[in-house]
């Protein structure tokens, strides 16, 4: 890779041990993908729950933090994805002291490195959305696909080690979606119906993600009418990323790079049609249980508007099975202030903050509570939890609340 003067100084160790280690890691990745050089980034976002890190990952972070005394920390605003717990509700979740100790150590290390603990996967709704052409280094696939597609920003999937490296060096290898050529559509998708509920938006994203099938595929989607809301596109993108590893889509006439199909799609692309029957088929794969053990709203964290809708559905009811809703630390105080938290918890639900269900030792939580049959309105969550031993059920928010009341999904 071509290195500028500053990058050569970093490699010579003149900017400290942390920047050197980070740039060496970035060089391995950049050379694998044939990057010609680095591009400066303005923000980094780190996914680093302790279930993923493990003891060895936390020790690695602590070693970096120890070196930051002399070498300094991150160079650009660097924020965090959901943590592995909500400390205030850890006992309810059945998390062990060892899990919480690991979590505290990771947080201390990140803070010493200058990382801002936002603990959110909806930073584009709550912290600072990136702007068109802004190069960033974001983790969490849902954050990347939303930032690339809806905001017009430029990011690859940056896993925790690489996002932290970008924060420490202020740059990332210029490959993939930092390059205009990779942002062109590779397939066309025609949608012939209008999704309504968030789970339908998620199911549509999941279906397109399956068709696209890999990280380098860029669907250009036409047929979406009106102006979808941020929460709808959040579920749409998160599910597409989860099912297909997709990092960028274009909605013709809606998203910033695609006023017309010809803006993003060369002639002769493969063309696909997605109908309501396709998403019904996907949903039916996750509807084979009538009795449920738990209801979870998470992945992505809920916005204030989603919590408003959920709170309204909970008013005046009493749940027979646990209902968990997960939001960000930025939204939670507003939910408290508006009375949404009280509406949910008065019905027997629990509002969790700063974590995400699947990033919080979901397998151990299932074993602690005997939970298997889980209902949710998140297509992303049903895709993930099968591997954790759950039998996930995809339903609307209204159906999920009804299921929490009756203990059954109809």
């Amino acid at each position: 890779m071509k290195l500028n003067d500053e990058e050569q100084e970093i490699l010579a160790g003149k900017h400290g041990a942390l920047a050197l280690k980070a740039l060496q890691h970035q060089l391995k990745v950049g050379e694998f993908f044939g990057a010609e050089d680095f591009v400066p980034v303005t923000q980094a976002h780190i996914m680093a729950d302790t279930e993923s890190l493990g003891e060895v990952g936390v020790r690695w972070l602590e070693q970096l933090a120890a070196a930051s005394d002399e070498a300094g920390g991150v160079r650009v605003p660097t924020i965090t994805d959901p943590r592995g717990t909500d400390f205030a509700k850890a006992a309810f979740l059945g998390q062990t002291p060892a899990m919480l100790d690991l979590e505290r150590r990771a947080i201390a290390a990140f803070m010493k490195l200058g990382v801002t603990m936002t603990d959110t996967c909806i930073n584009y709704q709550t912290i600072q959305a990136p702007t068109r052409h802004e190069h960033v280094a974001f983790g969490d696939t849902g954050v990347v696909i939303y930032s690339n597609s809806i905001c017009g920003a430029r990011s690859n999937y940056e896993g925790g080690p690489s996002a932290l490296a970008a924060g420490l060096t202020g740059r990332t290898p210029r490959y993939g979606f930092h390059l205009p050529a990779h942002r062109r559509a590779t397939l066309q998708v025609r949608v012939d119906f209008a999704p309504a509920s968030l789970n339908e938006w998620g199911a549509l994203g999941a279906t397109i993600g399956r068709i696209a099938g890999n990280y380098w595929a860029v669907p250009a989607v036409e047929g979406i009418e009106g102006a979808p809301r941020s929460d709808q596109l959040k579920h749409f993108g998160a599910a597409m990323a989860s099912f297909g590893s997709v990092a960028l889509f274009h909605l013709i006439g809606l998203t910033p790079e695609a006023d017309r199909m010809s803006d993003v799609a060369p002639a002769g692309l493969s063309s696909h049609c997605v109908t309501r029957a396709d998403i019904d088929a996907l949903r039916s794969r996750y509807r084979n249980e009538s009795r449920i053990d738990v209801v979870v709203f998470s992945a992505p964290q809920l916005s204030l508007f989603e919590l408003r809708d959920l709170a309204a559905l909970c008013q005046g009811h009493r749940f027979s099975v646990p209902l968990l809703a997960v939001t960000s630390p930025q939204v939670k105080p507003d939910a408290d202030r508006m009375g949404y938290t009280a509406d949910i918890e008065d019905a027997g639900g629990t509002l969790l903050s700063g974590m995400c269900f699947y990033q919080s030792y979901a397998r151990e939580i299932a074993e602690a509570h005997g939970w298997q049959r889980l209902a949710t309105n998140s297509a992303k969550l049903v895709n993930i939890l099968g591997g954790y031993g759950y039998h996930p059920i995809l339903a609307s928010m209204e159906e999920c609340v009804d299921a929490a009341i009756s203990g059954r999904i109809v």
């Binding site: 890691h25 729950d49 696939t141 896993g159 080690p161 990280y215 380098w216 590893s245 099968g386």
Partner: protein
């Protein structure tokens, strides 16, 4: 290379040379979505390798799937010795590459052939990143 061996060129490569038994499937890979990382097997019920142990195997799969967690998880799996020997994909996303870089896990990707169709399941293979080649030994 012996007379019966077949070699397949990769455009993308990382890590050291290793030799082992291949687990082959035209399916995706995510450490979080697909694996029981405690037991060391594929746990997603509809994965084509469901129930099979991945420990010490060369995984030959279609593409990388899912979330960013694999970037940490490969390193964590390595610390416990519950890790594949190498990863081979038709196409790979950045997360698996970043994770392999952190864990020091050999990886090949980008073949002219569908690599999952030409490598027999259970065959012995050599993963040779410096030479950018996958060799089916027997």
């Amino acid at each position: 290379m012996s007379g019966g061996a077949k070699a397949f060129r990769a455009r993308q490569a990382m890590g050291d040379i290793v030799r082992g038994i291949a687990l082959v499937a035209r399916d995706g890979f995510s450490a979080r979505y697909d694996l029981d990382r405690v037991k060391g097997n594929f746990s997603r019920p509809d994965h084509k390798l469901a129930g099979q142990s991945y420990i010490g195997r060369v995984l030959v799969l279609d593409t990388a799937k899912g979330g960013v967690a694999s970037a940490w998880m490969l390193n964590e799996m390595k610390s416990r010795g519950v890790i594949p020997l190498a990863l081979v994909f038709n196409s790979v996303n950045p997360i698996l590459v970043q994770g392999a870089a952190l864990a020091g896990l050999p990886m090949l990707a980008g073949f002219d052939e569908d690599i999952t169709a030409v490598v027999p399941h259970g065959s012995e293979v050599e993963v040779n990143p410096p030479g950018r080649v996958l060799i089916v030994v027997g």
